[in-house]
Amino acid sequence: MLRRPPLELYELTIHEAADRLARRELSSRELTQAVLDRIHQVEDKVRAYVTVTEELALKQADEADKRIAAGDAAPLTGIPAAIKDVICTKGVPTTCGSRMLENFLPPYQAHVTERLLDAGLVMVGKANMDEFAMGSSTENSAFYPTHNPWDLDRVPGGSSGGSAAAVGASECIYALGSDTGGSIRQPAALCGVVGFKPTYGRISRFGLVAFASSLDQIGPLTKDVTDCALVMNVIAGHDTRDSTSAPLDVPDYTQSLIPDLKGMRIGVPQEYFVEGIDADVRASVEAAVNKLQELGAEVDREVSLPSTGYALACYYIIAPSEAMANLARYDGVKYGYSDRRGDTMWQNMELTRQYGFGDEVKRRIMLGTYALSAGYYDAYYLKAQKVRTLIRREFDAAFQKCDALVTAVSPTPAFKLGEKTADPLQMYLSDVCTIPVNIAGIPAISVPCGFAPAGGGSASGGDALPVGLHIMAKPFDEPTILRVAYAYEQATEWHKARPKL
């Protein structure tokens, strides 16, 4: 574990870099070049990117430097970022980690990339991911797995594993990911960075390639909580092109960066501390709860969310059902991989899907099709949507008594590459703590809260694996989450640790 300083340019946070850019001690060109050099130095080991956009990044850096010189800079102007490859970037390949979209060039920008471009984005690349965001390890990428910068033999988590590894390995200053069942928070926890899934509807999903439309949400992965608030300020807000985006005003999230928790009521739901939670993870989270108490929070350890144990089954019915409908668009006709070896139009469509999709995507398509098919709809899909109502009601009741709830993000630290690929159900269990949040549509963050011993040999010489603290709040109460996360972060040193690479 390396403690800073000394600082390399690529290790800067957004706010540190923005300060230097504003004082003209640093140019975006220099910063961008430093990040690109870092990518050249470590990318062979980490493989966080599907596409590195070096030329575009340098061009955008020069534009940012002009903006800064003209006194027209915003907090994100000229800061190099990675964008998960499920978010459309006009004219830049957007593969979703799939052979199906290997050569797809979006004809439009996603809402979030449009917002970031207006703010002076420098995009260094498109981040690797599990195919169509389905997975918890980034091993389902059709191209190659991403490696955890803390231990290269281990997974970075997923599905936003490329985004989390890129931030963790300082191959970008910040990144965007998407979270359907934990896909921002779980990789953030496993890579020792901050990952935020805002309330469903807080950020427009326009241009986010759809996986499960009632669960998907875009969010930032950053090196600290201040950076998270800065990115949220740019990407949050209503957009008429996404009818599920909330028509609500966006607060200035930096106003929530308050380093004490006086009067804050924090609940620790019992059901999240049952079997399967690694002892080191449990110890780190319990120590973090004590720290929150020291910071002035009132802690309630009796909170109960009795239906928690049903959320995973509920999710693996609802998400595949929605995915099945969304993925029906890949027919080999309009865009993407097209297999034309068949004799009829139908055969070509069937072959396109057989050869264009990977195993996990096929499994989920079949689960969803099964759950929605005649004779099974009531027993699976309808039942799951009723259980979803119960889970939401229990969260509503808990938030009557508590401002925030805290749990572990992932039941274990990063696992070994290949450890769970043969057993889909074991892989699904990695998201057992994060899934209820998407089921209920509420916001939640992962912030670094400790390290667990790695055990066994490790190729990178890493001596420990990061653990994440999960903080949840009621819908649209992102400010409370950021306040708890910020107060905790300011009272601890975990976020300053960097992996040796």
């Binding site: 019915i317 006709v333 139908w346 499994r363 039942k383 119960l390 939401r392």
Partner: protein, 95 residues
Amino acid sequence: MAITREEVQHVAMLFRMSLSDEEIAKFQQQLSQIIDYFQVLQQIDTEGVPPTSHPVSLENVMRSDEPRPSYPPEDILANAPQSERGFFRVRAVLE
């Protein structure tokens, strides 16, 4: 097993996706295990509980139905595997 080989094939065909024999065998085993796990939901009483229709309640979202510019057809067709005279090209649907 919760799901038969024929059901795996049937479900894949409902989605218009072909599978190899090896895939059918593998998915039969894996999907059975997952579907067995779903049975846990039968333990929970949902009598009188309405199904969720939207995770965070929103009123119906309407806009006036007015014509407005869309994307240029050539931009949309640029990703098409096969196109011809401004159309997507497919094999004949009708014999």
